[in-house]
């Protein structure tokens, strides 16, 4: 008996008004004939309204005539009538359809081609190569070849590119390029080459490796700070004037490494009481929500550890496609810790001091440096600290460039 409303609206139904003397009679006759009457409502004396399917409306006529009932349609419900109404506005509908088609068509075209990352190679040249590959303004996106193929072919076509990245964002085609770094003129001969090498520290020369220039000292010579080691002048050899055929003004510059033995002394103080942080092993894991960079701690669900605690937080934002949403979860780990005092023996303290000093020296020496020898001089214990001097013999590059003044 329950009416299937959606089916009724799919087939279409009529809401009609009936007026006559023998309405009850009419209802009986129509019902007996199998008409599907529903929502029969009494409006006033001799006037009712009801709903029935369209098909049944045409079968109504004999009963109307026999009971002398007048009928009037109040409203038309359902899908078929909606279609009919839409058909009347077919012009609007075509326009809407056309709009959708145009939008779809236009958004499947490439509307701009952009090149980014190029410095030396003109954009026009890259665009021209792209056009040959079939990427240009007005091209259908579907007809653009595979991304990796474009990248491969472009790197072949323009040898000066070391990397090419191609992507399409909506209606834009974007080409990101990385150019090959070319060796600059300056690096080849350049102004930087017009230098002498001088000693930046006093020491004993242990090795000389010269790429360009003319050494004025020898291995095992002792040089003072600021002394000339390698001359950048061509034929600059005052002692031996017999060779001095080329002019003294010709400057080739000096380049190279001069390794020298240098001495360093450092004073180190190591406290014998060392305070260290130790984890007790008690830990607590919890997950909290966070909102806009703020952790929401639910007071009853999180049980904080007592005492000194270290927190390790790991934020897990919720991703939506490619955006990070401003809320998510925080994995939090609490590690209980305590401070432990450790007393070092003098021997251990000296060892610690040595390590410290060595690390410090090595960081100062640069890539060519190494430690030859280290000596600990008079360690002594004062007020719970060990004070010592450490003497290092190291090898380092003592050459430092100094521009040759042109006025001479």
């Amino acid at each position: 008996m329950q009416q299937n409303h959606w089916r009724q609206s799919l087939k279409g139904s009529l809401h009609i008004e009936l007026q006559g003397e023998h309405l009850a009679d009419f209802i009986n006759k129509a019902t007996n004939a199998g008409l599907d009457l529903s929502r029969i409502q009494w409006l006033e004396e001799k006037k009712i309204s009801l709903t029935l399917p369209i098909a049944d409306f045409y079968r109504l006529r004999p009963f109307l005539r026999s009971t002398k009932t007048k009928v009037r349609i109040r409203s038309k419900l359902g899908f078929p009538f909606w279609i009919a109404r839409v058909k009347k506005r077919h012009f609007f509908l075509t326009g809407f359809g056309l709009f959708l088609v145009i939008i779809f068509f236009l958004s499947s075209l490439v509307w701009s081609v952009e090149v980014e990352g190029n410095e030396m190679i003109p954009t026009g040249e890259i665009l021209a190569s792209l056009q040959e590959e079939g990427v240009y303004v007005g091209q259908m996106k579907s007809r653009i070849p595979d991304t990796s193929e474009i990248q491969h072919r472009l790197t072949d076509k323009i040898p000066r590119l070391s990397w090419v990245g191609f992507r399409i964002e909506g209606t834009r085609a974007i080409l990101t390029v990385v150019e090959k770094k070319r060796v600059t003129e300056e690096e080849q001969t350049g102004e930087q080459g017009r230098v002498n090498l001088i000693a930046k520290r006093s020491g004993l020369i242990s090795d000389i490796q010269i790429e360009r220039g003319h050494p004025v000292v020898d291995v095992n010579d002792i040089v003072k700070k600021g002394q000339l080691i390698v001359s950048g002048r061509y034929g600059d050899n005052e002692n031996n004037s017999g060779e001095g055929v080329p002019s003294a003004d010709k400057i080739v510059g000096a380049k190279g490494k001069v390794l020298g033995e240098v001495w360093y002394e450092s004073e180190v103080t190591v406290p014998m009481m060392q305070k260290r942080k130790v984890y007790t092993g008690v830990r607590e894991r919890a997950t909290h929500p966070y909102l806009a960079g703020r952790v929401v701690r639910l007071p009853f669900f999180s049980n904080d550890l007592e005492g000194e605690v270290e927190f390790i937080q790991q934020i897990r934002p919720i991703h939506l496609w490619k955006w990070n949403l401003p809320f998510g979860w925080v994995n939090e780990e609490q590690l209980a810790m305590k401070w432990v005092n450790r007393k070092l023996s003098v021997k251990d303290a000296i060892q610690v001091g040595k390590e410290q000093a060595r690390a410090e020296i090595l960081s100062r020496l640069g890539e060519d440096g190494r430690i030859l020898e280290e000596k600990i001089l008079h360690p002594s214990e004062q007020n719970g600290k060990v004070v010592m001097k450490i003497h290092f013999t190291v090898i380092e590059n003592i050459a430092s460039p100094q521009p040759i003044s042109q006025g001479e």
Binding site: S38, R39, I40, I48
Partner: protein, 92 residues
Amino acid sequence: MRKIGSRVRKIASDWLDIPQDVAADVPRILIIGPYRVHVENHHGVEKFSDGEIRLRTARGVLQIAGAQLKIQAIQTHEIWIEGNVSEVKYLD
């Protein structure tokens, strides 16, 4: 003649333990709260108005009184009435 027939059918159903609404042609009425009445085995509508609906049945005329009554759906032997129902009774 018809009265005798129905009485025979009633006796038969009592004796054979068949539900009466199946055996006899009497109406079966279902009332849900004060707002819905289903009647099966009716023989047509006699009177229909806002406050009163009279149905013909084998037993006689069934009167359903109330306010804002309407026939939600009607078929040959079944009717579904909605509204504020105050009274359902047989008129003799």
